[in-house]
Amino acid sequence: MGRIKQQQQQSQQKVFTRRLAILGALKIAMVSALAGRLYYLQVIEGEKYKLLSDENRINHRILFPPRGLIVDRFGIPLATNSPSYRATLVAEQTPNTPATLEAFSSIVPLSERDIARALRERQRTQEFKPITVKDDLTWDDVNAVELNLPDLPGISIEIDQKRVYPFGGITSHILGYVAGPNEKDVENDTDPLLRQPGFHIGKNGLERQYDLPLRGTAGESQLEVNSFGRVIRELARQEGDPGGDLVTTLDVGLQQFAHQRLSSEMAGAAVVMDVYTGDLLALASTPSYDPTAFYRGLTIDEWQELSNDIYGPLTNKAVAGQYAPGSTFKMMTALAALRAGISPDDHVFCSGVTVLGSARFHCWKREGHGSQDMVNGIKNSCDGYFYEIARRVGIDKIAETARMFGLGSAEGLDLPGEKPGLIPDSAWKKAVIGDSWHPGETLVAGIGQGFITATPLQLCVMAARIANGGYAVKPRLVRRIADGSQNDEGNPVFPSLEVPENLLKILRTGMDMVTNGDHGTAYRSRIDIPGMEMAGKTGTSQVRRITMAERARGVIKNQDLPWNQRDHALFVAFAPVHAPRYAASVVVEHGGGGSAVAAPIARDILIECQRRDPSRRNPNAEGGRREMP
């Protein structure tokens, strides 16, 4: 054993002890670091991590607010929501998805496509999330499925809200429709609702124009979820604000009548307006489309068919159809002449042909009207008379007057897609065509042909401003939004156009004679119900050029021409003639003569309009009425 060995062992032990002390101290430091780290995470940063853990745990689910209703002026619903039943399948609740689909199909038939789509959706969906088996089940289907639920593991019926338009195509051009937002919609709108599958926004018409107030605000449900997104339970729920209802100015009964009356022709538009308030009672455009087709999604074929249809079902012709106004424009030529100091009693001789330089301008009546004053010029729609006074007044004054009466620019209606029409003048021609104005063009413009175009809405506004004594009434479609952002307290007040009443009276007398004067151009379409008589003006606008040769041979009759080369038939009117309340315009595309085709439609609509609701003339409404001399 020896001392050396003992010393060695002692030194070995001493070193070991010392080294262990060092390591022990190191370990104490390391464990202290752990404890410090725990303290840092759990106490100092604790609140932050608590928030993060809640963010993990809590899934915020957006709840759809019910979309606001759209109703007519009497509260009749035009756009509503109704429950729609959808069968869904949760894959983890069924032992065999295809077998369950087959069992479902034996109760409610599924097409091959439905099954393929459901299976495809199954591939992309976590097994505890529902997939859609069939949309829009009927009530009978729902009952049949509910009855057979024990044999349909994983199937359940869910209730969605769908948008319903009780009047379908009759109101589709005004209301538009709703559909899922596209990428651009989502980009431009931060509303979280747009990012929810199955949410619809207004895509056209009032649905689009008033989408925000109709939409409402999203509710929220706080769900506790696990890391796979499976819902464990609902922690809190906050309902959103439903969308505000929209009260329109429409009288849907009249709208329906106008639509059906117009449908006797291939394509056309009719507008009825309150001449004092600007309320549009009817705004019809035919043919039209089924808004629910857009809601459910059009196939490419359906879309092609609609957009290639020559009768233009997708266009709201009442606001977006631009037509040469033809003779309905003659009131503007006449008023421009009166304002320029031309006497209404000045006579012009119409021989059937007016010659200006080397050009010949024909009156619609081959043999001419003979000597005409202004009232008779309007009554007979004598082109010769208007060629002459237009020549005397000049285009710029005619244009100025026409613009005062609402032509040549959009009316600012709360409806997307409104077109401005066109009122040309010499400056316009210089700027746009790059040519100076020819005197002959003034003659053509004087009878509402040539460059001039106007929408049916503008023609109705023009008639209304003549009828109401020269106030700049503007059309409107919405009386009130339930959220209060717009209301109809009191009727709107419109500024006067400062046109002397005696001048307007001459126009009204002329229009009175058109319908009520013996041999007036629309005498056959007069209203002979006492107190409902209307005044009006026919218009027939050419869409093709009649050559000299054709004129020599004899102008081809409309019915011998292809549809799209026939004349447009137009009529503007107001009623009752001695206390005007309503203005109307009717355009029948390629319908032929205004007196034969458009005037009877306008007459029927105005009779219906006045018959429908005498109570419309209640004292409140009278309040907005201006004094008539």
């Binding site: 054993m1 032990q13 390591l23 370990k27 752990l34 608590k50 853990s53």
Partner: protein
């Protein structure tokens, strides 16, 4: 020259009954306390179901205590004698899973022996402690000063660590290296040699990083450890969710089975590697500190035994297994707290699974054996004679 061939007082001087009387019950109580916390956490991790994990873990614990006590009865002299053969077996098995396992078993790190899975790297953790204790035991303090005597033990550490790293198991390789270095240090290897190895190690790691020795996912783990936000849904997900869970626990925790991160599956591996996170979420800072304290007491216990032991073999062995335990819990807890990369080391006695439990229980068994024979000496050269 004259180094004693026979140990003094190393004769099996204690009979079995005497040994049983010497069993360190306070150590077993400490172990049981830690394990019981584990049972509670496993019960909670299963959402209040005892059958899922807790019951099986209890069975493992009972078996483990049995193994611990059985090993505790073994003679130190005998342990010193089997150190080299055991190391050889462990090394061969490591080679086996490295070369044959790669072909037949994918990236599998264990050998399926029907009744339990033998993980050679775990066996290596134990046998490396034994073999290093045995080796340094045979050297005098002066001999340790000679550089060439360190060649053998260095290879004894580096070879298995390299094999494990190749498996690839970054965590276990690190544990082997650190435990080995700890024993070297405790045995009295000079300071400056550590400095050289440290410098070489740095150079080696840089080389390894560039040579493609590390798998891409191992590199990714290191990178995301340094900046977890880089990859919040991929590799960084574990660290981020773990920190959220721990932090949201606060001082008092959310309560057993109330940890939303753990119970709603945001926390990965909540019953195994990340069980400490779940504990921190549900039992808060208080629970976390309690567990750290209990482990520290176990380490102190091991150190106390090492200091009180007369034989150098016993001292180094006691220190080695204690070092192992420390590394286990330190690496695991530091990893879930985001202090070091996620390396897949479970929390011994608490994490679900038998492998780590067996390793530490065998370690406690060795500690018990050292404790019981703390006053006995072990011969310098144990082979051949006896």
């Amino acid at each position: 020259m004259s180094v004693e061939l026979h140990s003094v007082g190393s004769a099996p001087g204690l009979r079995l009954t005497q040994r049983i009387r010497q069993i360190p019950w306070s150590l077993i109580i400490l172990i049981t306390m830690v394990a019981s916390i584990g049972f509670a956490m496993l019960y909670s991790a299963a959402g209040g179901n005892a059958d899922t994990w807790m019951n099986k873990q209890m069975v493992r614990y009972v078996i483990g205590i049995g193994i611990m006590l059985a090993i505790g009865m073994v003679d130190l002299q005998r342990l010193a004698k089997i150190a080299y053969p055991l190391y050889a077996v462990a090394f061969i098995l490591l080679v086996y899973v490295e070369f044959l396992g790669e072909i037949g078993m994918g990236a599998q790190r264990w050998i399926d022996l029907k009744f339990f899975q033998l993980q050679p790297s775990e066996l290596m953790k134990i046998s490396m402690c034994l073999v290093l204790a045995r080796y340094f035991h045979s050297l005098s303090y002066e001999e340790i000063g000679r550089p060439w005597v360190l060649i053998v033990p260095t290879l004894l550490v580096l070879l298995p660590a390299g094999l494990v790293l190749k498996q690839p198991d970054l965590g276990t390789a690190g544990m082997l290296l650190l435990a080995g270095a700890g024993i070297f240090f405790a045995a009295g290897v000079r300071w400056w040699k550590f400095a050289i190895v440290f410098a070489l190690g740095i150079a080696g790691s840089v080389g390894a990083w560039n040579s493609g020795f590390l798998h891409d996912y191992q590199k990714a783990r290191l990178v995301t450890f340094l900046d977890p936000s880089q990859d919040a849904l991929g590799t960084g997900y574990h660290i981020t969710q773990s920190k959220i869970a721990l932090g949201s626990g606060g001082v008092w925790g959310k309560g057993l089975m109330q940890g939303s991160q753990a119970q709603l599956d945001f926390l990965p591996e909540r019953q195994t590697d990340f069980i400490f996170t779940m504990l921190g979420e549900e039992l808060g800072l208080v629970g976390g500190l309690l567990v750290l304290t209990l482990y520290s007491l176990l380490v102190v216990y091991g150190f106390a035994i090492a200091l009180r032991t007369r034989s150098h073999f016993g001292r180094l062995l006691a220190f080695g297994v204690t070092m192992n335990l420390f590394l286990y819990f330190f690496i695991n807890t530091a990893m879930v707290m985001g202090l070091i990369p996620v390396v897949g080391i479970p929390l011994p006695l608490i994490s679900y699974g038998g492998t780590a439990m067996m390793t530490v229980m065998v370690g406690f068994g060795l500690l018990t054996a050292v404790y019981i024979q703390r006053d006995f000496r072990v011969g310098r050269r144990t082979s051949g004679e006896d």
